[in-house]
Symmetry: C4
Subunit: 208 residues, 4 copies
Amino acid sequence: MTMSYEQAVAALIEAGRRLDARGWAPATSGNYSARLDDGSVALTVSGRHKGRLTGDGIMRVDLDGRPLTAGKPSAETDLHLALYRLFPEAGAVLHGHSPQAVGLSRATEADGITLAGHEMLKAYPGHTTHAAEVRLPIVDNSQDMAVIEAAIRPALLVPGAIPAYLIRSHGLYAWGKDVDEAERVLEATEWMIAAELAEASFRRAWTR
Amino acid sequence: MTMSYEQAVAALIEAGRRLDARGWAPATSGNYSARLDDGSVALTVSGRHKGRLTGDGIMRVDLDGRPLTAGKPSAETDLHLALYRLFPEAGAVLHGHSPQAVGLSRATEADGITLAGHEMLKAYPGHTTHAAEVRLPIVDNSQDMAVIEAAIRPALLVPGAIPAYLIRSHGLYAWGKDVDEAERVLEATEWMIAAELAEASFRRAWTR
Amino acid sequence: MTMSYEQAVAALIEAGRRLDARGWAPATSGNYSARLDDGSVALTVSGRHKGRLTGDGIMRVDLDGRPLTAGKPSAETDLHLALYRLFPEAGAVLHGHSPQAVGLSRATEADGITLAGHEMLKAYPGHTTHAAEVRLPIVDNSQDMAVIEAAIRPALLVPGAIPAYLIRSHGLYAWGKDVDEAERVLEATEWMIAAELAEASFRRAWTR
Amino acid sequence: MTMSYEQAVAALIEAGRRLDARGWAPATSGNYSARLDDGSVALTVSGRHKGRLTGDGIMRVDLDGRPLTAGKPSAETDLHLALYRLFPEAGAVLHGHSPQAVGLSRATEADGITLAGHEMLKAYPGHTTHAAEVRLPIVDNSQDMAVIEAAIRPALLVPGAIPAYLIRSHGLYAWGKDVDEAERVLEATEWMIAAELAEASFRRAWTR
């Protein structure tokens, strides 16, 4: 499911435009990547607004993070590459920032939240019923990517783990076999967090 | 009020674009259909993002669900077809997913909620005054469409029933004589749920 | 500040598109009008979606509501015309529906709410400071326009009255010398209601 | 990082369109400026909707506020010019109005709020870690710009001060070396306020 550099550039530009339209790409936050035919990775460069990316906002690195084209890769490149190394089937990684997901991560000190009973769980690859519960892992933030990566890795390898995790006070990582699937996982996870918030608001109102 | 396949394709693509812009079509959720001139049904295929449908994202089935063109029909095809069989005047069915409606459905174990006193009630066909109340039925979710269909059917046949119902933890079904009317019912129902949530928030704030 | 029929049609179509994009024109709700050069009024016809109006969605009536062109005028035509008769300087009337404004109107039985201290008050014509308070009148809904009109009229004639009022469980009326000014009044009023809701949410959170 | 008048006009029109799309430019609120090559300032004129600016909605003034082209400068011109005089590196100033930021400012009588632990803090120039806290100053509103300017100035000169402040019941000022950086600061600040509101909502729900 890998793609050419040209396909990756077009797909990541479009994904950025859509994430920004949903309010998930403020300032220059976020970074997006896709695995290419030759095993290298196309990745957003640092410091660009993801809602209005152009071709020069995307560069190529190898799986060890060495630049193959000009540009300064995103500070979080290592988190993308760790996912590609860990999951050979991963073809794209998207990292977005919604106020809801980050607000949720700050409201708890737990290492994750449970999402249960949602039909939307079926958006996760391999999930075929709402009658299930999954764990969205939450890992503490760090400016050292190796620290985040080591802390989150065990949760990603648990059987039945979903292809997403949340960095506390920071944002959501989601991945999939291609950009469409990664965006599907991201949208579904954000949507369930918004639905949980609406549920809580109705519960509070009805139990006054 | 039926339409040609070409008209249905155009109308369903546009409806998907609008529902997605309102945040009601995350991931690949949702499925939309329209009854055609020849008695068959145009229906979204499984697994496409409804905000960016193209013509090949829509197929034809007969009223028993047998494919008349290539493609895998949506898993919820049977719920659409049950509505067309039950209501000869139904020309289109839309199924959307807002965080508000799903949050509401999860905050209660009741088999419905009452919407009362809204001017917006007049968006439902045959309703001519705000001085009324209607029941929006809520049915438990299932991966067996026949179970959902059997459970919801009585509520749909109650005199004065509105052309909409909510599947718990899942989403809203709405229908009408054509795509425009189905979308009107969907928008009005979602809007009233949002207004009820805003009302609850103001009430809580004012009674602190 | 009156305009030609062609100018009015273009301005009302654009206003509808913008109000719908903000979520204030669900289903076929809303009706918009503008006073024309010849003293007649251009007005949206009944039953169209205001987010995608076309020229045939707008008709002309005289100040007594007699159709001057083909079409069924909006059910609320009389409320528009009453404003034009009452306020000779009024050149346009917009009627929108936000969940926030309607939620607010349902959370209170009062005949209005006070908006105080907002810089946004300066959006109302003739208001030059935030250090003021205004009354947004709320009138009970009715299917008899004459009942609404008689009930709200005294509040509109109070010295310092703002060019807006809210019909309970229904929506907001706003007017101005032209479509731009009416839209300015509508946006400012909706924005202040949203700000009051956000204020209440922060207060609740901080006083837990 | 200064720019030509033509570049400034294009950049300010685009910024207005984007701020309005996010709901931060209701009615005719907001004013935007950019420092030009020749030391003068391009600035939005008074009374225009910032979501649909055209070239004639922008004029030039010198650093003392004297008009260099036709037009009535925004009432808040002096706040823009004070920032350019205080911070030689400032190349653009944006002033937006979100319901969230204004709601927050009305919910407290404090002279600021603390933003702590957000990855988004790195959107502020010179900030390189989330493990920090910054103060967003809040100043009382006034119709006398000199009063606001004198009251806020000390907070702006505190070491580590962020390039943003909030006027109570009014809106947010943000600045940067160019329009992109000013918009980045504005988006990041608004986003963190929205995240704090979501956090508070989840906390309330979970501690019922």
